[in-house]
């Protein structure tokens, strides 16, 4: 049996005449952290939006555990096992942190006390338990990113899409984020990780894809990609 969790095949997304994602194929295996790097406008976030159903792709296919999810809605994809965070955190700003984590549990058949305990446990994991009665809008940007990660964990997804999890996050919160990602990977969760923070992405990634102008221009182990002249040219120019 294949251990491929996510398989993207020849995915294309156009906005009018602009081809933002151009025939991209990639895969993420169980327990693997796959990094996706590229300069601004390379199509990284668009690709993520196609994977989790926010955008409808124009061509190609997205498969989760070998099931076609290409035309599914974001909530169906979330329930199928794909969690997602955003570059700019989308927390529920005027809700306390416990309620922020309880919203994903809408379809969970459990008592209020159990749901609250689960939410509190989620907050403990990302070091936000002490702030549990604060509202989302009272957190710093970095804390909101941790809250988003905790919210993702609530649904116990198999695959987690992280969009720039380290951008604008201070070093101590970055450390918590890194620890959580590694802990989840150890629990066999898979990741597709987009980041400009090359240090973190090189440290975490088991496999790396490089996207440039909507196309994959390189892939492989971190060491191979780091030294690939095509990648160096794409990042630094001639």
């Amino acid at each position: 049996m294949s251990d491929t969790v996510l398989e993207v095949q020849a995915l294309t997304k156009r906005f009018g005449g602009l081809v933002a994602v151009d025939g991209v194929s990639l895969e993420v295996r169980k327990g693997q952290i796959v990094g996706l790097i590229g300069i601004n406008g390379a199509g990284k976030t668009t690709l993520m939006n196609c994977v989790n159903g926010i955008y409808r792709s124009d061509d190609g296919q997205v498969r989760l555990n070998n099931a076609d999810i290409t035309r599914k809605t974001p909530h169906e994809i979330a329930l199928a096992g794909v969690g997602r965070t955003f570059q700019v955190p989308r927390t529920f700003r005027r809700m306390d942190l416990i309620d922020n984590l309880m919203v994903p549990l809408l379809h969970t058949d459990a008592s209020d006390a159990d749901l609250t305990a689960r939410a509190e446990d989620g907050l403990r994991q990302v070091g936000l338990y002490e702030l549990r009665h604060n509202h989302g809008e009272e957190l710093s940007g970095g804390q909101q990113k941790l809250l988003e990660l905790a919210r993702v964990i609530m649904l116990d997804p198999e695959l987690i899409l992280l969009d720039e999890p380290f951008a604008g996050v201070n070093p101590s919160l970055c450390r918590i984020m890194l620890q959580q990602i590694e802990k989840l990977r150890d629990a066999s969760k898979s990741f597709l990780l987009v980041s400009h923070d090359l240090t973190s992405i090189y440290r975490l990634s088991d496999h790396l894809y490089v996207l440039n102008q909507g196309e994959i221009i390189a892939e492989g182990l971190v060491e191979d990609v780091q030294n690939d002249p095509v990648v160096i040219e794409a990042y630094l120019g001639n």
């Binding site: 700003r93 309880m102 919203v103």
Partner: protein
């Protein structure tokens, strides 16, 4: 200043304010969750009033008996109407503008239907409780030695206020204590984020539309008890009150709307008994303009959100 008159205005303000609170809260749920500027909200309320009127005229039943069937039927109608009216709008670049135009059309259509069925006249809703009135307070020597003043309220208004208060408590409980209510509030704050945590935003929106329609319908029943008359052309002023209350309470704060509704009702009714009528009608809107200038997020929005 006449103490009795002031107290009478205050009591009337609380009765009408509670109704405005429900109008504002239901409209706030609709605008917040669905981004729909429901200009037909007044007609949704009127439909509830006419339902109660029809039950009274057809079956001889006190309007109070219309509360439960209106709540159920209007919820189902609202839930179904969502799928007919709204999803197409949300594919538009400017769903708010499109929804305003669409719901304005729905408003005109509903006025036409109500006028067609019930004709254009204002109809009295003739019913009563026993006793007809309740004396809330006796102010001794209010009008001179030996001439007491009485603060009198029709029993129907007290009953309507009690039902109204129960609905406000139930709505607040629903929004803050149930997972569906929390999901609705979350959708008001960030609709995209709700989808990516596994919530079917169409089902949630349809539920919100049904809930808001049901509350509007019941509000109409209570209004028919309080006024007591029904007028097919009375919808737009009610929708206007709803939008004023939303601005006062803060968009996206259903509980802020509840409090703002009561405040608006009290100011309006007290002003009605204390000031010339034109000035009284203006006062509420003066407050509205002041709030827009000085607290654009709503007079109670921030306090309630925390």
């Amino acid at each position: 200043m006449n103490e009795v008159l002031l107290l009478q205005g205050l009591v009337g303000g609380i009765v009408f304010g509670a109704i405005y609170a429900l109008i504002g809260a239901s409209l706030n749920v609709m605008v917040g969750v669905l981004r729909v500027i429901n200009f037909a909200h007044g007609e949704f309320i009127l439909a509830g009033s006419f339902f109660a009127y029809a039950m009274l005229m057809g079956l001889g039943l006190n309007p109070l008996y219309a509360v439960a069937p209106v709540a159920v039927l209007f919820f189902l109608a609202g839930y179904g109407a969502y799928f007919v009216l709204i999803p197409r709008l949300q594919r538009s670049d400017e769903p708010e503008t499109s929804s305003f135009l669409l719901m304005f059309g729905v408003s005109l259509m509903m006025i036409a239907v109500l006028t067609w069925i019930f004709e254009a006249d204002i109809r009295p809703v003739n019913f009563s409780f026993d006793p007809i009135n309740v004396t809330l307070l006796v102010v001794e020597d209010a009008y001179g030695p030996g001439r007491d003043g009485r603060v009198i309220v029709p029993t129907a208004r007290i009953v309507a206020l009690a039902v109204n208060a129960l609905m406000i408590i139930a709505l607040t409980w629903f929004l803050y204590r149930t997972l569906t209510g929390k999901a609705m509030r979350a959708a008001i704050m960030n609709r995209d984020a709700v989808q990516i945590v596994g919530i079917d935003v169409h089902h949630l929106s349809a539920t919100a539309f049904g809930l808001a329609t049901a509350i509007a319908g019941v509000t109409g029943v209570l209004l028919a008890m309080v006024v007591p008359s029904v007028d097919p052309n009375g919808g737009p002023p009610l929708a206007l009150v709803g939008f004023v209350v939303i601005v006062l309470g803060g968009l996206g704060h259903p509980v802020g709307a509840l409090l703002a509704g009561v405040l608006f009702g009290v100011v309006e009714q007290v002003a009605t008994v204390m000031l010339p009528q034109a000035a009284a009608q203006m006062l509420g809107f003066v407050i509205l303009i002041a709030v827009i200038f000085f607290r654009p997020s709503g007079i109670l929005g921030l306090a309630v959100s925390r």
